[in-house]
Amino acid sequence: MLETININFWYGAFHALKDISMKIERNTVTAFIGPSGCGKSTFLRLFNRMNDLIPDTHLTGECLIDGKNIYSKTVDVTGLRKNVGMVFQKPNPFPKTIYDNVAYGLRVDGESNRGLIARRVEESLKSAALWDEVKDKLKKSAFELSGGQQQRLCIARALAISPSVILMDEPASALDPVSTSKIEDLIHTLKRDYTIVIVTHNMQQAARISDRTGFFMLGELIEFNDTKKVFLNPDREETQNYITGRFG
């Protein structure tokens, strides 16, 4: 379970996240929506500490995964990232073979048992619904795949290290509708075994795939509710204005 308590975050002097508290249940899909620059991606990246890579940032508040504060001094960041996988906006397979892409996370973790790696690669590609398309060309470059396949490869890559949470930052925004619907189907299936948090600009996508939806605006969490409630009868007028297109 993910939980944040009074999270505040600054880029330099810019107050990007304002006092955000939220609880995300296990094995659910949670979508974050909101206008560009509202802080939803920043918030997503708190959960695997990707914001650590950006210089001159500052955080207050607590961010808990299964009750443990992931920002406490004793936390091993690489270990955290093995538990919290991430899929990015643009498919970013490494310039390696399909097989090596999926095996990468295991190898950097020090796994050297070839049989085990081969098994995990196959399982992950199957979970990502990509196995049938690539099983005959595992030794080919990942760049030979289409954009949609590359994104599913990136999902398989994240699954290979058996995380419990998967963060997705606009995972389908660079894809065509057919690839997008494959990713969405996949998210539906993955929900059984993983907790998924997804940032999307596509509100219909949020409506289709998520159980809960959070609406962010100007660094604040305006509303966090069941997706059905948000799209049929939101509690807050700001949410309604945004999702019905009467923004501003």
């Binding site: 049929l232 509690d235 807050r236 019905t244």
Partner: protein, 222 residues
């Protein structure tokens, strides 16, 4: 105003036109019944087609709205309720038409003003007309305060309907009217009662559309 908002506004405008048409059909039916005015009844029957075409138009407009604009939240509730309301308005139009046909067909039968008074069909027609007018006002002003009054009217209608059965049975048994005329009259009364039910349903749709919004306004204030 955004493009999608214009579409929704024109949808609302259309349903208003349909509403006024159905309301005038119902009022005319009431007058034609009271005065046994066959000419007016023919006029009602001839305008029934316009009601039907309104329903088809609104139905396809709602489909387009959903297909093209992906309405959500209050917009979605508006489109969904308009779709259902247009179906119910069309049914009410059908009933007005049935009343008109009854008037035309039974014009030969001697108008029995005593029986009419006993059956209280006039009051019934008056009640459903008010219900329809009030529910339109509720939609137009986006105000659900009228809903209680409208639903109360429906109980009056139901009461008159239930009272009509023994009155008609007695009239048939005593030979004042033919059994056939009595049964046909019963069917018409039944149809007027159904108009009341439809009006109640329309009010429920309006509450579905509006009330969330009202609720939301009160919440976002704090």
């Amino acid at each position: 105003m955004k493009h999608a908002e214009k579409e929704l506004a024109s949808l609302k405008d259309e349903i208003g036109q349909m509403w006024r048409l159905v309301l005038s059909q119902l009022e005319k039916a009431k007058r034609a019944y009271l005065d046994s005015d066959v000419e007016l009844a023919r006029e009602i029957a001839s305008r029934e087609k316009r009601v039907n075409s309104f329903e088809l138009k609104i139905d396809s407009d709602c489909e387009n709205c959903i297909a093209l604009y992906n309405p959500v939240a209050i917009d979605l509730r508006l489109v969904l309720s308009m779709m259902k309301i247009s179906i119910m308005l069309e049914r009410i139009g059908d009933f007005a038409d049935a009343i008109a046909k009854y008037i035309i067909r039974e014009s030969g039968a001697a108008a029995d003003d005593t029986l009419k008074a006993e059956l209280r069909v006039e009051a019934m027609l008056e009640a459903v007309t008010v219900m329809l007018a009030d529910s339109y006002a509720a939609l137009d002003t986006e105000n659900t305060k009228l809903s209680g009054r409208i639903l109360a009217q429906d109980e009056v209608v139901d009461e008159i309907y239930h009272d009509a059965v023994p009155v008609l049975a007695e009239a048939i048994r005593s030979g004042r009217i033919s059994a056939e005329y009595g049964l046909k009259t019963m069917l018409i009364i039944r149809k007027i009662e159904r108009i009341g039910d439809h009006c109640s349903n329309i009010v429920e749709e309006i509450v579905f559309y509006i009330d969330a919004k009202v609720l939301k306004h009160s919440k976002s204030a704090d």
